[in-house]
Symmetry: C2
């Protein structure tokens, strides 16, 4: 192998896939990054067992020159640090004495012991599978709106995932940790897929993909093969494992009628919540009270320290007075995810789940279980 590549291009590609390098791995090969040089460009791959990220840098006359093809696996942390510290210039990568790789730029010369590329995990075969396609800017938004509600605890592993349902006419994302739930339905063009698919993707992988998805003009093609899913956008792709198990159903949570409904300005309600939650005890209990004369307030207290109370204005209100307790931080997360100036809060008494929806768009739905308190 003998290639020359410009430092900013290589550095940028490495930063994109660095997330997939495990901090510590019992499998030595995973501490490496696979580098493949083919005539049409360089491909870099990192894998933490659960997620594989791949980035391609296409050949170009002055910036990516392939003198001799080849492949190797390079210690990832060293490679990332070295490339980041090299000057903006052409870098020469050579395998002179296999498995030793040389990295040279200006007066600097590094030698790293490579590993056998045959040992590195392979991507699954996604050819000949159905595919759906989403504009990147929308996919990024949907993932952010839903994935925060996935569980971070491994007690019920399936809840660390985000349920993704691909149907003829719609794409539905749903996440829940058992206390709160976020879901989002998007109409899709039916030519995208020919069959129904329902998979559970690890939430942290989805969040990762949304974070590094930088070309918002482009589209992401999604393919499923066996127990793996592939997200591909331009020269970048993520393969993720899928979670096994049954995801909770949402159908029984929503009702036809509610005892209390109120519409609030999302940003003002969120800021009031942020302030009041500051004085909530460690479990973040916040009290919401709707008084008979239709004034509403949030309050909280911490024993021996103090309390907070804040009135908030209602854009619209129907139904019965109400006193309900919930996790303030969880409601703040929902308000941050809601992509709308006004939100509709629906209640069925103090023991039943609170339903939150953007007032202008009922395709997103958030549910928060209240806390029993006095």
């Amino acid at each position: 192998m003998l290639i020359k590549v410009s430092q900013p291009l290589l550095n940028n590609a490495l930063q994109q896939i660095a997330h997939a390098v495990p901090a510590k791995s019992l499998i030595p090969i995973l501490s490496g990054m696979k580098l493949e040089a083919e005539l049409d460009g360089i491909t870099l791959t990192a894998c933490n067992g659960d997620m594989m990220l791949k980035c391609k840098i296409p050949s170009s006359v002055n910036q990516v020159i392939i003198h001799e093809t080849g492949s190797t696996v390079i210690p990832a942390r060293y490679l990332i640090d070295i490339i980041r510290n090299l000057p903006v210039d052409l870098i020469t990568l050579t395998i002179d004495q296999n498995p030793r790789i040389s990295i040279q730029s200006g007066n600097a010369m590094f030698h790293l012991n490579g590993m056998d590329p045959e040992q590195f995990p392979q991507m699954a075969d996604f050819d000949n599978q159905d595919r759906v396609q989403f504009p990147n800017h929308l996919l990024k938004k949907w993932i952010k709106q839903v994935s925060f509600a996935a569980s971070s605890s491994e007690t019920r592993p399936v809840l660390t995932g985000v349920s993704c349902q691909f149907d003829r006419n719609e794409f539905k994302l749903l996440a829940t940790d058992g206390v709160r739930l976020a879901s989002r339905t998007a109409a899709v063009n039916q030519t995208f897929t020919e069959r129904h698919a329902h998979v559970i993707v690890p939430g942290k992988n989805l969040i990762n993909y949304a974070k590094i998805l930088n070309d918002e003009e482009d589209v992401t093609v999604v393919t499923i093969a066996g127990s793996r899913i592939l997200f591909k956008s331009n020269n970048f792709m993520m393969q993720s494992s899928l979670l096994e198990g049954t995801y909770p159903m949402i159908d029984k949570i929503t009702r036809n009628s509610y005892t209390t409904e109120m519409t609030v300005n999302s940003s003002r309600f969120m800021h009031a919540l942020e302030r009041v939650t500051l004085m909530a005890e460690k479990n973040n209990i916040v009290k919401l009270q709707l008084n008979p004369e239709n004034t509403a307030q949030l309050s909280s207290k911490t024993a021996e320290v103090g309390d907070a109370i804040e009135e908030f204005s209602l854009e619209e209100v129907h139904g019965d007075p109400l006193t309900i307790f919930f996790n303030g931080k969880y409601m703040i997360d929902i308000m941050r995810a809601v992509d709308s100036g006004q939100v509709l809060l629906r209640f069925s008494g103090k023991w039943n789940p609170i339903i939150v929806q953007p007032a202008d768009n009922l395709t997103a739905l958030y549910v928060l279980t209240p806390i029993r308190s006095n």
Copy 2:
């Protein structure tokens, strides 16, 4: 107490002194921040036992209104979070039922249980003491240039401090952790102080002061009283404890003549060091070699992973060829602190300390002990 103060002013003052609030303290009163309202303004004080920060917000017609004077101690973490989350508007602070303090802004109302201000540590009395005065921008620079070399280990507590010598004609800062040393001498106008003073100030307090010193146009007045030192700039002041003990002397380290001297471009030498140190083992051993034909190179290696080698150019060189090993990270720290385009490196063989000085300014001096290696 009844005062009104604009949110940005109060928030900014709190952020400045927040560094002195201990993360955890066995002394309950130190988890609080003292607030004193007098006719001429509000004073906030935080203290972690070792360092006290004080910030004054002077009265002003529209932004800081003192209706009724008074003082209290407020739980610091709550106060900081609450004020940061309030909107940009006037905040009303009241002691209605002592020790309860109310914080009100718009529709938000907080109550916090205050503590007895009489219990809060007092500042030492610095009146009638000699004082020296430095322009803030210079003091900030000197502290940065020297204090990094102080020890972070409590094995020899005195080395966690920075030695400060105030003389009739010069001010000398010196820090060392036993392996490296940084010192800086500044000529001062002799009218500033009438006597000699030599104190050891905890390095982290000095670094803290340099960090939050934001008015670089102003001057800092330094006063010493007993075992305490006061740094005061405009409406902000820091009182620090002093360390007891004998600080190492520097006089025996420098020599009249050296066997090898070289002048290098500081930025280029630093970048080469940064790259080569990436491949050094955990103790950061880097090898510097000056060849008989006056070429020079840095190199390093990590067993089983690889190695790095980089030639660097010399602006000037005198003396014998040389091979010497040192801690690469420590040399990088020195290069970052050196405020000069070129540095002079002086050697007396491979076992003796390396002397580093800005080529154009011999008032700063850095010393690095070499590592014995093969």
